[in-house]
Amino acid sequence: MNALTGHLSELGHGVVTTVELTVVTTIAALLIGIIVAILRITPVPMLRGIGLVYVEVLQNLPLLALLVLFVFALPQIGITFPLFTSAAIVIACYEGAYMAEAIRAGINTVAVGQAEAARAIGLTFSQSLRHVILPQALRAVIQPIGNICIALLMNTSLAAAVGVVELTQAANNVNLVEAQPIEVFTGAGIAYMLMALIIGFTTGRLERKLAIVR
């Protein structure tokens, strides 16, 4: 246990960074997901095309490759961000593609009649989305969105590869000093598991609370 208790502050910082990265990217990914899902269902063919290309490109590349590309290729053309920011941008964009697909599936569960009734009382396309379609679509996919959040939490460990000292990197650093991989990584694993359980618990509660009476 000494390997863990002797490095609580380093590991604690790692946990804080992981939580920060998860929270920031979840919010951003949700917003990106909503925007891209809307692009994919607009009546405008070009916008639909942009949404499709976004999803296909980001879903079909490994996150690690995207991270490395972003962090090492952009400085070549003079664009640099702090490492945390870079990792957050890439993870948000990547998970945003998954969010978009989940939200689009939710939009498809909303009966056509709902959109027709919304238009029939004079709501514009964006008003129908905001007041009628999205509230019902998002409620339908709270669980899948929760799953994406958990996957996102796990994926934040890849930020270690581009120098962000989050929990996995912190554990790695501690292990370099202590050479107790089983203890150190079991401890880190338990921390990840607790965070994932919190996400799962929250989505479960949200789902029950917001369920539409049918």
């Binding site: 009649g113 009734a117 238009r119 009382i121 514009t124 009476v213």
Partner: protein, 242 residues
Amino acid sequence: MVAVRQLNKWFGDHHVLKDVDLEVAAGEVVVVVGPSGSGKSTLCRCLNRLEVAGQGSIDIDGRPLPAEGRELARLRADVGMVFQSFNLFGHRTVLENVMLGPTKVRRMSKSEARAEALALLDRVGIRDKADNYPAELSGGQQQRAAIARALAMHPKVMLFDEPTSALDPEMVNEVLDVMVSLAAEGMTMIVVTHEMGFARRAADRVIFMDDGRIVETGTPDEFFSAPRTERARDFLSKILPH
């Protein structure tokens, strides 16, 4: 109030509306009847552009129906629509359903919209269901809520697309009663229905459609007692009780 000229509509190769001409005066109640697939629902849905006609023109209150966009949204606000499947917004209470249009489209204040919505719900007899969700209501109550939602926009015309077809028989009358009272108050109404009793009681004019055409038009008395065309006679003989 509503002027339809030479309306044609195709679903792929299927020609669903053929040269439809229809004039509806302000305050007039027109009932559209006809066999399934005759194009009556499609005609109704074309009038607020939920379906886009292939050819022909539609004027509402003297103005041509605009193409997609804000103009169309504004026009739709003036044309109330009641659907066969109610289509109440499932995530909102009955009261919120009725208030949504007035607050978001008409920019009415919440308190004003609320007072008016409650009055409308009272009028259709479901004031006590204001805070319930649509799924907690019977079909007849849901359809009355949907009528209140449409009325909240102060429409110039009301379109009813088979409003009682999805209802259990014992709930049909509670909806028809609301519609009859609307008609009596002078609302311009276009009603697609299989309820011949309603046509007799409330219609100024009955239109009989078959195979995408308006085959016959006349007062309810003329139409039901002395239909002029063979197809109308055939249709009536199949649906009227013996």
